[in-house]
């Protein structure tokens, strides 16, 4: 599982490029030109990203991408449990993103968490006359009906920006009138090229409205940290937090999985930020580093190797107590993890995987598959930037195909060629792949399972991958008649 010079039998730079070229043949010239730079064989030795990224989606190609609103509502804001998140605009955006991300939450829904759909449900007249007044009233109704909400985020949908509403002004007024944090977030879906800008805008909004507005009530310790870019999908944070506590750290805030507004607001007081999803939250780590001098560290908690590596990297930043704890924890869990590997690896050895997800998974989970004996033969991101791809090269075997914002057409072609034993991607890809007879796991959402992070998570991950790949149901795909 060394991260250099891994090769997959039958996959060469040439074979991969040939596959890419073939996939591009079907495009009209303009489309082909646009798409070509986004597809390449992996070159682990290269110093820069092998593919272009963070470009506008090519129209008409069937992309899996979402929008800025999705990045703001679904990813960054939605998981903060003690705030009401208002989808400001027409009814749809909030409805589609209601309960569909599996960022799990503590508390009582409608009382102390607000995993619901709040919307201003714009009508024609709101488009014509503007929605600011409605928003103001809505905010005060929210406060009255949900008295324990710690704050309200106002997440703009497309029309809001287009008709020139000023939600920032309304929010300012509301803060005064309601004595409650009301955070306006101009994350209209048309902004930027993917959900990525929504993350960025949301980060900026946290920076401008939240960070530094609270302090922790209990005394500071050298072990105070925050977990950044951890969204508690399928309970990941609930696997990772106890592990970090077991090595002696105090996780003062999680951004934003099962998150709490005031803890996030006091994060400037921690001693270290651990960042899991680099893509969606590196901005804030940088801000906190610049403004408050808080160092940050990228970690990966998928699979025992990466956990081990990450824990030791963390330990290196702390005193001997932590260092000893880390070794104790590793010594305690490694045998358990080996048992998991011993159970499942014989059934998964040599199987091929393709990934196409968002955030961090296309690189972070590679090692976990490899520990189960599987080869990842293709990977790519929906909304990555160059720095993501830079980080990906080393994780992927040589010459395997890397695809950015892959179109369904390309993905299908690659799968036809590579015939993976498993594809890990999202709901939009799932049934297409399954119709091809390819086992599949939703790797955005752990396919209604989880957690996949941490020690606890690896066990679940291994079980699920085995179940997907080895379900006897696949035997029946081909009819004998």
């Amino acid at each position: 599982m060394s991260s250099t010079a891994r090769k997959i039998e039958g996959i060469t730079k040439e074979s991969t490029q040939e596959m890419i070229d073939k996939a591009l043949e079907a495009y009209p010239e303009k489309g082909r030109k646009k798409r070509a730079p986004h597809l390449a064989p992996n070159d682990p030795g290269a110093s820069s990203a092998c593919v272009k990224s963070n470009r506008k989606t090519v129209p008409g190609v069937m992309s899996a991408r979402g929008c800025a609103y999705a990045g703001a509502k679904g990813v960054v804001w939605g998981p903060i449990r003690d705030m009401v998140h208002v989808s400001h605009g027409p009814v749809g955006c909030g409805w589609y993103s209601w309960g569909t991300r599996r960022n799990m939450m503590t508390g009582i829904t409608g009382v102390s968490n607000f995993a619901m759909q709040f919307t201003s449900d714009f009508q024609e007249k709101d488009i014509v006359y503007g929605g600011d007044k409605k928003l103001m009233q809505l905010l005060s109704e929210t406060k009255e009906l949900f008295p324990l909400a710690k704050g309200i985020s106002v997440l703009s949908e497309c029309p809001v920006g287009l008709i020139g509403d000023d939600i920032n002004n309304v929010a300012r007024q509301a803060v005064k009138e309601l004595d409650l944090p009301v955070i306006p977030c101009n994350c209209e879906g048309f902004r930027g090229v993917s959900q990525s800008l929504g993350h960025h805008i949301s980060n900026d909004t946290i920076r401008d409205h939240i960070i530094g507005t609270r302090e922790f009530a209990e005394p500071e310790t050298p072990y105070d940290i925050a977990l950044i870019g951890e969204y508690n999908i399928g309970g990941d944070a609930w696997s990772v937090k106890p592990m970090l506590e077991e090595i002696g750290l105090n996780v003062k805030a999680v951004w934003t999985g099962d998150g709490q507004l005031e803890h996030i607001a006091a994060t400037h007081k921690v001693k270290l930020n651990l960042i899991h999803c680099y893509r969606s939250m590196n901005y804030m780590c940088k801000v906190m580093e610049e403004k408050y001098g808080i160092p940050w560290l990228e970690i990966n908690f998928f699979g025992p190797s990466k956990i081990r590596e990450s824990l030791r990297k963390i330990a290196a930043l702390f005193d001997d107590t932590i260092k000893e704890n880390v070794e104790k924890v590793i010594a305690k869990y490694d045998p358990m993890m080996q048992a998991v590997i011993d159970e499942y690896r014989p059934r998964l050895d040599g199987k091929k995987v393709m990934l196409y997800v968002g955030g961090l998974r296309p690189r972070h989970t590679v090692s976990a598959y490899e520990e189960l004996g599987m080869d990842v033969v293709g990977s790519g991101y929906e909304f990555a930037h160059g720095d993501d791809y830079e980080r990906t090269s080393a994780e992927m075997p040589e010459a395997t195909v890397i695809y950015d914002d892959v179109s369904e057409y390309e993905l299908e072609e690659f799968v036809h060629k590579l015939r993976p034993d498993l594809v890990g991607s999202g709901i939009k890809e799932k049934y297409l792949l399954q119709k091809m007879g390819i086992p599949f796991r939703q790797m955005h959402s752990w396919d209604y399972s989880g957690p996949y992070e941490g020690y606890k998570g690896f066990e679940v991950f291994a079980r699920d991958i085995d179940m997907a790949v080895n379900s006897p149901t696949w035997k029946f795909v081909k009819s004998p008649f």
């Binding site: 079907a26 495009y27 009209p28 489309g31 090519v58 129209p59 008409g60 190609v61 069937m62 992309s63 899996a64 991408r65 979402g66 800025a68 999705a70 208002v86 027409p90 009814v91 749809g92 955006c93 589609y96 209601w98 569909t100 009582i108 829904t109 409608g110 009382v111 102390s112 619901m116 709040f118 919307t119 201003s120 449900d121 714009f122 024609e124 709101d126 009233q137 109704e141 009906l145 324990l148 497309c158 287009l162 008709i163 879906g189 048309f190 930027g192 609270r214 302090e215 009530a217 709490q260 607001a265 709901i427 799932k430 049934y431 297409l432 399954q434 119709k435 091809m436 795909v477 081909k478």
Partner: protein, 487 residues
């Protein structure tokens, strides 16, 4: 941060506050506050027009749904359909971004048409709009005309398009608009004086249950009535798994849809689902035109059968008569498990009317009846149904209320069960009563969309599901001495 601000410390919601509010939200007092809301909508039971439009665009042979707007919109619609059907939902968007606001979406549309046409080789494209082009006022007619002229798509390549603003109506209205456009596009110039296909054109309306479409087709086959089901999703969203991915499985044949204008009879089901389409059909289609209620329950199924018999001069076949008898048999056999049970029901107008009919026929009480995108006309129709039965006398209708309102209703004035969709599961849990997932979407159970709710078989299915659940509850909650072999 202003320097003089006092340090504010992190506080936690106390368990006491949490319990207090948890109790409070179940009270009459809270209900009143909740119903006083004017601006805030919480947990609406409907979504925006384009979703319905996409359903239509999927439902014709070889047709590629095309979202004119942000790619994020397309992702949302597709995911929703994926989750509900557990099936692929291939659709493209032209990925409009900020510059669209300045320059309009024509460039995006053209490039997208060119790419989509080349990559996905559709026989037709169905374009519908999300918010952005609606707000900026894109002229689709002109854009598409230009696309043909510039050769992005062939001159004669059929492209239907509909304006489906999200800030107006709900998914059923988007369905209607897109269907209208599909039919206008496909039938253009196809009306032939004197020609009659001899067929029934059946328009089931915005229905996300593939089993219902199969059931309509089965019924028509039993009758021996040749038919074109318009916007037929049955194979589109219930396709075989055999190792081959098909981009366009099934759907109404374009040829049949084109010729539908020369049909013998065109029948829409559901008074509320396809009003614009129906009104256009009345003016443009040959043959007879009529609209019947969605056939939920015996009475509406009878009306459907009898109308078919009348229109095509064929008696209701013996096989369907026997089915009717078996459905009534199932109803009488099971009536005691549902009689007088109170239900909260919500959903799209035509489904809602169907639930109310069915429940009244079983002697159950539709009690809280809620439509989060309703109308006076719908309210009147529901009330008329309620007035026809003893079991409707205590019912109340709530138009344009949402599921947070429904929660207040259920918590303050309890019922025995809810009929709705997956979104009702939180109320169901809080109230400790079952939720019957007959509506759309169903994100958390498998295969339910494969089980028809219409017609006599639909009656049997609903009886089975509901009554057995009530028996389950008896078995699960009774004390030992009331736990019995027979029920």
């Amino acid at each position: 941060m202003s320097a003089d601000a006092a340090v504010k410390y992190v506080t936690e919601i106390t368990p006491e506050d949490e319990s207090r509010v948890a109790e409070w939200i179940n009270t009459e007092e809270y209900k009143e506050k909740n119903f006083a809301r004017q601006a805030l909508v919480i947990n609406p039971a409907h979504t925006c027009q384009p979703l319905g439009a996409e359903l239509v665009a999927h439902s014709f042979e070889g047709t590629l749904p095309f979202v004119h707007g942000s790619q994020g919109c397309a992702s949302y619609y597709r995911s929703t359909l994926n989750r509900h059907f557990r099936e692929p939902a291939p659709a493209v968007s032209d990925a409009m971004t900020e510059d669209g606001a300045v320059f309009g979406g024509q460039n995006n549309l053209h490039e997208a048409l060119e790419n989509a046409y080349a990559l996905y080789k559709p026989k037709m494209i169905g374009i519908f709009t999300s918010c952005m082009p609606e707000v900026i006022g894109d002229d689709l007619t002109a854009f598409i005309k230009n696309a043909r002229q510039k050769g992005f798509i062939p001159q004669d390549f059929p492209v239907a398009y509909a304006n489906t603003p999200s800030f107006n109506g709900s998914h059923i209205h988007g369905y209607d608009s897109m269907l209208l456009s599909m039919l206008q596009t496909l039938t253009e110039g196809k009306r032939m004086e004197g020609r009659c296909t001899g067929k029934l054109n059946l328009i089931p309306g915005c229905d996300f249950n593939t089993g219902n479409y199969r059931e309509y087709k089965r019924i028509l086959k039993e009758f021996g009535i040749p038919a074109t089901v318009l916007a037929d999703i049955s194979d589109v969203f219930d396709s075989p798994l055999d190792g081959t991915y098909r981009l366009y499985p099934g759907g109404t044949k374009l040829e049949d849809a084109a010729d539908s204008i020369n049909g013998k009879v065109t029948m829409t089901l559901g008074k509320f689902a396809t009003t614009r389409t129906f009104s256009w059909i009345k003016d443009n289609y040959a043959g007879e035109h009529l609209s019947l209620p969605t056939p939920f329950g015996i009475e509406k199924s009878d009306a459907f059968m009898m109308k078919l018999a009348e229109l095509f001069g064929k008696p209701v076949p013996e096989s369907l008569k026997a089915e009717r008898g078996r459905a009534v048999d199932a109803m009488t056999d099971a009536h005691q498990y549902i009689h007088n049970k109170k239900f909260a029901v919500y959903g799209d107008p035509d489904y809602l009317l169907g639930y109310v009919s069915f429940l009244l026929e079983m002697g159950a009480q539709p009690y809280h009846i809620l439509c989060s995108k309703g109308s006076k006309k719908l309210e009147k129709d529901i009330q008329a149904l309620l007035d026809s039965s003893l079991y409707g006398k205590d019912a109340k209708i709530y138009m344009n209320k949402d599921l947070w309102h429904l929660r207040s209703l259920v918590m303050t004035d309890p019922v025995d069960a809810i009929i709705g969709d997956t979104h009702g599961k939180f109320i169901s849990r809080d109230a400790k009563i079952p939720l019957f997932r007959f509506g759309f979407p169903i994100f958390d159970r498998v295969n339910l969309h494969r089980s028809p709710l219409i017609g006599y078989q639909g009656v049997i299915n609903m009886v089975t599901t509901i009554c057995n659940k009530f028996i389950d509850i008896t078995d699960d909650t009774c004390d030992d001495r009331h736990f019995e072999m027979m029920r």
